[in-house]
Amino acid sequence: QTHTKMSFFGLGQGAEITIELSDVEKRRKVDVKNEEGKKEKLLLYLDGETVAGSVSINLKGRKLEHHGIRVEFVGQIEMFYDRGNHHDFLSLVRQLSPPGELTQFTKFPFEFLNVDKPYETYTGTNVRLRYFVRVVIVRRISDLVKEHDIAVHTLSSYPDLINSLKMEVGIEDCLHIEFEYNKSKYHLRDVVVGKIYFLLVRIKIKHMEIAIIRKETTGTPPNVYTENEQVAKYEIMDGAPVRGESIPIRLFLAGYELTPSMKDINKKFSCRYYLNLVLVDEEDRRYFKQQEIVLWRKGDLRVGRKPVAK
């Protein structure tokens, strides 16, 4: 249910537009962050699914003159540093009514059949990708507009072929480790399993943690903005190991707010994920190694879970 949105200039000629999507009861809802960063529960659609529903117009006055009523399904990328300038990568329009006059409550059904929704809903630091249904009552001075957001998930399926990530890194004569993550691509409810082997330890390590870092890149050269955000921080070792130790890693991803990795979305932005292995020594010096991982959303969805104390 959406609430009323009054037009300032349509004094006495206002109308309440309600967009109601079909199968509200049955469809899953997910949390999506809105412009203000607050979480909203939105209906979830997948690529190729039909978006259908009805538009109800409730008159405030006795009649409403208009130059036509249309409903649009929009996929939009919005840069936070360039608010006025939206980029619609998807825009479908259905005319609901030719120009004329409404004198009573009217309800228009609509349907966008099997819409391609190539990208996933995303709210980042500098960029937002959203899908919404928009109703526009075109008028002489100011249009009456009503938007209704939906959430979109892009599902993918990766082959079972698993490539583990294995790498030897170190600082000469000081620290030499080999780390191994079981995969390079994880689905969002996956578990990162791995091991760190200590081949040479000449520094006094205090602890070791693994972090998930989201790297969001927006814009096109030369105006590229990059934001790094630490999504998760997870201590995996306490104390100083000696040569030959191997430390297990097990990190459940489901508890964190992650999205699938996105690359060059409509040439506007990318969102990549990195596993950052950090060793901290007794003088609080940090030694780290970042390794990109690809996150993807798996088709088979289950009920979400919450993390315990973080």
Partner: protein, 786 residues
């Protein structure tokens, strides 16, 4: 982590601990409140905060332990709640994942272990897999102290959950093999952490660190205790799957504290039956330990344990296990592998070995001898000259040599059969040898051990030589006279242990002893020879009892008397009075076997001694009285000899210095004429009963008494004489007439009246009155008899 790695000390410790405990209490309270309101998520958050207290690096092991105990108490509430939740249908697998989101590893792993425990109890997942996962995940904590306690918590929680069945039927539930893998893994990791503590921090804090490590050792040892609690482990499984890994870890860690503790721990926690089956691998490991590990005490504690086991159980050591051989070989290898091992430690090992041999193989004297031989060889190689009794090797060597003495409890003389014993004893210096000789001697006296052969005696004399004679390496200053006396008195008692069953052998022993004792010098022989002389007299008596079996018995006895005489001769100048008594005793003994010549010889020797060497008047009285007493009892002398001796006695008595002495001795001499015995040709004897001669003696005594100037003494002597008269009268000497007696009584009566009134007079008077009363009594009896 903002906390620094330095440890607080003293009061700060207490403050920090109290603060931490306060936090624990507060969070535990919150946790329990949440649990009561079934808010599990919040409860877990509080539990996690509470557990964060264990992330500290500031507490000493002791304080950390207290904190750990407080927290693990609180975690039990959580576990209890989770168990109830599970019974209500909550899925533990979800919870097992859920707790793993905790960002910090310490709280996360404690929670994981707690939930994992419930997970296992819920029988939801594979017990084996969960255990494996838990022990594997704990690797994340590499900080020694925190890691040790975390793994201790793991052990504590899984204590009753470890699968303990050997069959493979229940793969999911796991078998004892899985438990072994689990514990061994945990044990290996804990030991590594524990060893690592040694290498942390400044070198000058080494001592404190070692102390702290010792406080924590029990945590590592608990792993072994858990293994020992698994009932499905039998000795073959122990040898195949448990011990090798345990030992491998011990060797690999190359840390002496750990090696010493763990090797000891293995011995203590596993049953003796297992040790018996695994001696070789265990002892081989001992040879591989670090140079500064006290291998000695490890091996000793194993040997001692097995020795007491064998002693305890009825079956003893199974015959297929060559316990002694194995130990001996392995000890040799251990010694070889440690060229710097102290001599005393090697001896100490053999102390236990000998102890084992005695306890488990009492019939194998060769085992003990082997061990002694080994030490003998070793000491010859390593030490030149005598070994100081007070130095470590000397002390150990004495301990070693005392083991057979104590061990052959019932038959202490078995020691003499040990070929290597004496040569080992001889390596000690004088004090060492002497104290050992005394120890042996004391044991023999206590056990009343009979020495029955000459060979035994010979061996014994060699062993006891520091007590028998002066030694070349003896210190010049004299030892304490009291000690010397005590020691020689013990030697004297030793003579009484010579108890050969055949008199001939006994003679051989005594003869040997005489030769040995003779070398002891004047100070010793006065203690050692007298009992030997008595022993010869006993031997004479022994020959007498077998005279029907031994034709030559008399000749042998004569030889022995010769021996006795000569022996006494050695004493004459040193202890005349004692020698005189010995002569008299000899005379009596000779009298018993009716050997007149010998008896006469002994008596004359006594007289000679009396005349030549007894000069003190009091001693003279004693001696002449003794001579007369002995003489009176003899019955083998013919008239010729008897007469000579009788008059000799009378002369001697009358020649005493003091009148009272003369008087009494002459009176005593009277007995020789009454109850003295003379042998006849037929071999029988008869008493004299010469009343006249008796009277002569007594009258002479009376005359001497009258010559006394002191009236009190005179009266006393007369009363004494009156008693003697009375005695002879009672014996039937008719020469003692009533009128004579009456005369004497009147004289005494008037004499006493004349005496000055004093205590002496009273005493004499009382004696006199008593004697009168006795006479009246005798008279009354005579009257009634007739």
């Amino acid at each position: 982590m903002s906390k620094t790695q330095t440890l607080a000390v003293g009061d700060d410790q207490e403050k920090l601990l109290n603060e931490a405990l306060k936090h624990v209490e507060a969070n535990a309270f919150e946790m329990k409140t949440c649990l009561d309101n079934t808010k599990l998520m919040d409860a877990l958050k509080h539990a996690s905060t509470m557990l964060s207290e264990l992330r500290t690096s500031l507490l000493s092991p002791k304080s950390y332990y207290e904190l750990f105990m407080a927290i693990s108490d609180q975690l039990r509430h959580l576990e209890q709640y989770l168990l109830e939740e599970f019974e209500k249908g909550k899925k533990m697998s979800d919870l097992y994942e859920l707790v793993q989101y905790a960002g910090n590893i310490i709280p996360r792993l404690y929670l994981l272990v707690t939930v994992g425990t419930v997970y296992i109890k819920a029988n939801e997942g594979s017990r084996r897999d969960i255990l494996r996962d838990l022990v594997e995940m704990c690797r994340g904590v590499q900080h020694p102290l925190r890691g040790l306690f975390l793994r201790n918590y793991l052990l504590q929680c899984t204590r009753n959950l470890l699968p303990d069945i050997s069959s493979k039927e229940d793969e999911q539930g796991g078998t004892v093999h899985d438990s072994i893998t689990f514990i061994l893994h945990n044990y290996g990791e804990m030991n590594k952490l524990w060893v690592r503590m040694q290498h942390q921090g400044h070198t000058k804090e080494k001592e404190r660190r070692e102390k702290e490590r010792l406080e924590l050792r029990i945590l590592v040892g608990t792993n072994l205790v858990r293994l020992s609690e698994l009932e499905s482990i039998d000795s073959s499984l122990y040898i195949k799957s448990v011990l090798p890994s345990v030992l491998e870890q011990v060797v690999k860690c190359r840390d002496s504290i750990a090696q010493e503790y763990l090797m000891e721990c293995i011995i203590q926690v596993f049953p003796d039956e297992f040790h018996l089956q695994s001696l070789n691998p265990y002892l081989q490991t001992c040879a591989e330990l670090q140079e500064n590990v006290n291998v000695k005490s490890i091996v000793i504690s194993l040997i001692d344990r097995l020795a007491s086991y064998a002693y305890r159980t009825d079956s003893g050591i199974p015959s297929n296990i060559k316990l002694f051989d194995v130990f001996q070989q392995e000890i040799a290898i251990i010694v070889q592998s440690r060229p710097n091992m102290e001599v005393e430690d090697i001896i100490a090992l053999n102390v236990s070995l000998v102890n084992l041999a005695i306890k488990c193989y009492s019939d194998h004297i060769d085992y003990v001898d082997k061990a002694l031989g080994y030490c003998n060889e070793l000491l010859t190689k390593k030490i030149s000259g005598h070994i100081d009794h007070n130095g470590p090797p000397g002390r150990e060597l004495q301990r070693l040599l005392k083991v057979p003495v104590d061990g052959y409890d019932e038959d202490v003389l078995t020691v003499l059969k040990l070929e290597n014993y004496l040569s080992l004893v001889k390596m000690l210096n004088y004090e060492g040898r002497k104290s050992l000789s005394l120890y042996m001697l004391q044991a023999m006296l206590e056990k009343d051990a009979s020495i029955e052969s000459f060979t035994q005696a010979e061996a014994l004399f060699s062993l006891l030589s520091p007590l028998i004679s002066d030694q070349d390496d003896q210190p010049t200053e004299k030892c304490d006279p009291e000690d010397f006396e005590e020691e020689q008195s013990m030697m004297a008692r030793l003579v009484h242990l010579f108890r050969a069953s055949q008199p001939d052998q006994q003679y051989q022993i005594l003869n040997g002893a005489r030769k040995q004792f003779g070398t002891g010098g004047d100070t010793r022989i006065i203690y050692t020879l007298p009992p030997l002389i008595f022993a010869t007299y006993r031997l004479i008596t022994a020959y007498k009892t077998i005279k029907d079996e031994d034709q030559k018995w008399r000749a042998k006895c004569e030889k022995i008397f010769q021996f006795s005489l000569q022996t006494i001769m050695a004493l004459c100048k040193l202890v005349p009075e004692l020698s005189l008594r010995l002569y008299l005793q000899g005379a009596l003994t000779a009298d018993q076997i009716a050997s007149e010549t010998i008896a006469y010889e002994f008596l004359t020797q006594a007289f000679t001694l009396y005349e030549e060497d007894i000069s003190d008047s009091r001693e003279q009285v004693n001696c002449i009285t003794l001579i007369m007493g002995t003489f009176e009892r003899m019955k083998s002398l013919g008239e010729e000899n008897h007469g000579a001796l009788r008059s000799k006695c009378a002369v001697a008595a009358s020649r005493l210095l003091k009148k009272p002495d003369q008087c009494r001795c002459v009176a005593t001499c009277a007995h020789l004429f009454w109850s003295g015995k003379v042998t006849t040709d037929e071999g029988s004897f008869q008493e004299f009963h010469d009343g006249k001669r008796v009277m002569e003696c007594l009258k002479k005594a009376g005359r001497i008494a009258n010559q006394c100037m002191d009236k009190v003494v005179q009266s006393q002597l007369l009363v004494d004489l009156m008693n003697v008269y009375s005695l002879f009268r009672e014996k039937g000497n008719t020469e003692v007439s009533s009128s004579f007696l009456k005369q004497l009584i009147d004289k005494i009566k008037s004499d006493i009246e004349e005496l000055e009134d004093n205590d002496d007079k009273t005493l004499v008077d009382i004696h006199f009155q008593n004697t009168l009363q006795h006479l009246r009594h005798v008279k009354a009896n005579e009257g009634s008899d007739s």
